[in-house]
Symmetry: C2
Subunit: 343 residues, 2 copies
């Protein structure tokens, strides 16, 4: 069923039917009701491609899945972020499109998506330090929003981010106040912007307390469970092991916990642990009592906000730059305690 057929059934022109359905004023209210009834009855749905062609808008927002070619890793936060965004998209009548691209072709993927008119805007996830994609998108003139920020990138752009630095600074200070001096940081990949910021917060807290950072206590890699286990295990075997560990992801924190258990160490007593918690739906940090002391910030909520900001940007491309800094909450759970007495 297309517009033409529907209009013939109704004995009206396509113009009138189109207007009736799209809420234009120049159509009699009786006619509108008649049209709407017929549309529902016959299950008429305007063809999105034709509509897009005519209006010049696709009502689609693009995401690029950065399936890194080396590490075939899907970020666990992906699902929740997307679910949050999708909900808002749906509310505003947008669909969501994904394209897959490996590291080498991400830029082309974005360019392609936009220039062939497939999307009205894009979301850039997981920015690296000096993220080159931001410049590319800016020059292309495509509305976009960054989930995160990119140190070293010139110019302004819309972004939503967690205050990674302050949250890790606070978490570190929390541990220092508990008497910890040897605090390890199990972080994400070095070149990720969030990892740099978290490290900066960690270092600043150490600095404020007059603690010299120990490079052997700072690790970084893709944040899997196995990675957390591997690094924690290595560190507790050191001559001078850390008494506390800061971890950039709950998933890796689970690996850390596993390593501690294997070594017969008790979290919160022998070793204190703080993790960053994205509040994933399938991995809540305990029920009433949090398992891990954690810096918590819902990535799903970030997805919702990102979607709304992007839609706003699409609506007014020349509007003022929008930024949004979420503060992570420091929730205290059972994984932290006073530094053990080693003397």
């Amino acid at each position: 069923m297309n517009l033409k057929q529907l209009s013939e059934i109704l004995g009206l022109s396509q113009t009138t039917v189109s207007r009736a359905l799209n809420g234009y004023p120049e159509v009699n209210e009786d006619t509108r009701l008649r049209v709407q009834a017929a549309a529902t009855k016959h299950g008429y749905r305007p063809n999105s491609r034709a509509k897009g062609l005519a209006t010049g808008r696709s009502m689609v927002i693009g995401h690029v899945i950065p399936s890194s070619s080396q590490h075939e890793m899907v970020n666990p936060i992906f699902g929740d972020f997307v679910a949050g965004a999708a909900r808002k998209y749906a509310e505003h009548g947008y669909d969501m499109m994904f394209t897959n691209a490996d590291d080498t072709s991400i830029e082309r993927a974005y360019r392609d998506l936009f220039q062939r008119g497939a999307v009205d805007g894009v979301v850039l996830q997981g920015p690296k330090v000096n993220e080159p994609r931001i410049g590319v998108l800016s020059r292309m003139g495509v509305p976009f929003i960054v989930h995160g920020r990119a140190t070293g990138v010139e110019g302004t752009y819309d972004w939503i981010d967690v205050n990674n630095k302050s949250s890790f600074q606070r978490a570190t200070k929390f541990l220092i106040d508990l008497g910890h001096r040897r605090i390890a940081l199990i972080n994400g990949l070095e070149d990720m912007d969030f990892a740099q910021r978290r490290r900066a917060g960690y270092l600043e807290a150490l600095h404020e307390a007059g603690i010299t950072p120990d490079p052997s206590l700072m690790r970084s890699a893709e944040m899997t469970e196995v990675y957390g286990h591997h690094e924690a295990r290595a560190m507790i075997q050191m001559d001078n092991p850390p008494t506390a560990i800061l971890i950039s992801s709950m998933i890796s924190a689970i690996g850390v916990r596993r390593a501690l258990n294997e070594a017969g160490l008790k979290m919160g007593r022998d070793v204190s642990v703080i993790a960053h918690d994205d509040d994933l739906s399938y991995l809540k940090n305990g029920q009433d009592v949090p398992i891990f002391t954690a810096t918590r910030s819902s990535v799903r909520q970030a997805g919702e906000i990102a979607a709304e900001m992007l839609i706003e940007r699409i609506k007014s491309p020349e509007g003022p730059v929008q930024t949004r800094l979420l503060e992570a909450e420091l929730v205290v759970g059972g994984s932290t305690g006073p530094a053990p007495d080693r003397f």
Copy 2:
């Protein structure tokens, strides 16, 4: 840059340029090269909406995210499945579209997506027993593939699934052979088809061994970490606790492990545990030695296969029904051992 402009630059008709770029034979090879060079030089990308309108195909495949309204839960396998599928879509020139829909409007979401011409085919994830969506999609005539199957649905349809029954039957038998008699099952939601099949396998193995199933050892809910913890904790406090636990998800298995640790029980010695492992990229089951004894089947690979099957279906809508049953591998890890002597 559109076709018209490009053809004017080249001094050729739109027809010829279009044909040159799409590999039709009726164009001189020199001309074709000239056209291709100009297209690259000017960064010409055919507008997908216009192309779609003209060809009648959208080159997009739809997924519906079933963000259940009650439990705001995103399935953790979502990311990996999608990453697998997306890769294949990209290889064949397809994009991937997501729509969000709550439980009540999923059917409408599919109908809408297809009837307005937004997608050429859809993927149906997480089928329930008697899944009504399958009938809907069949009647609509939209090419689709089911990730999973649906007991009780009449008619044939394309699907790819893991042999849930046989894998859980084998896993259960494995535990029985180790001397376990009280074996618990921490399963997914009752109405999910996979959960029913896993339970059937479990029950059959018990039956074969002459063990009467104990309803108090069978739990089912959405498979979060907290759920695994909660159920395991409850069961080990029973008068007659299980000596082995079968779990439908690695995430929940982690919760089970947490409960066992809290109770001072050692996995593999005091309680044996087998989990189903979807081989998620961020949650590998250990490195060399598997942590959990597990029934393993890569959901990412399932995504790839599903994508290829669907594309094949789109190509030949009248082709024979395609089904694919993957056998899960039983990997033996450190979480299982002989039943403890209780006498």
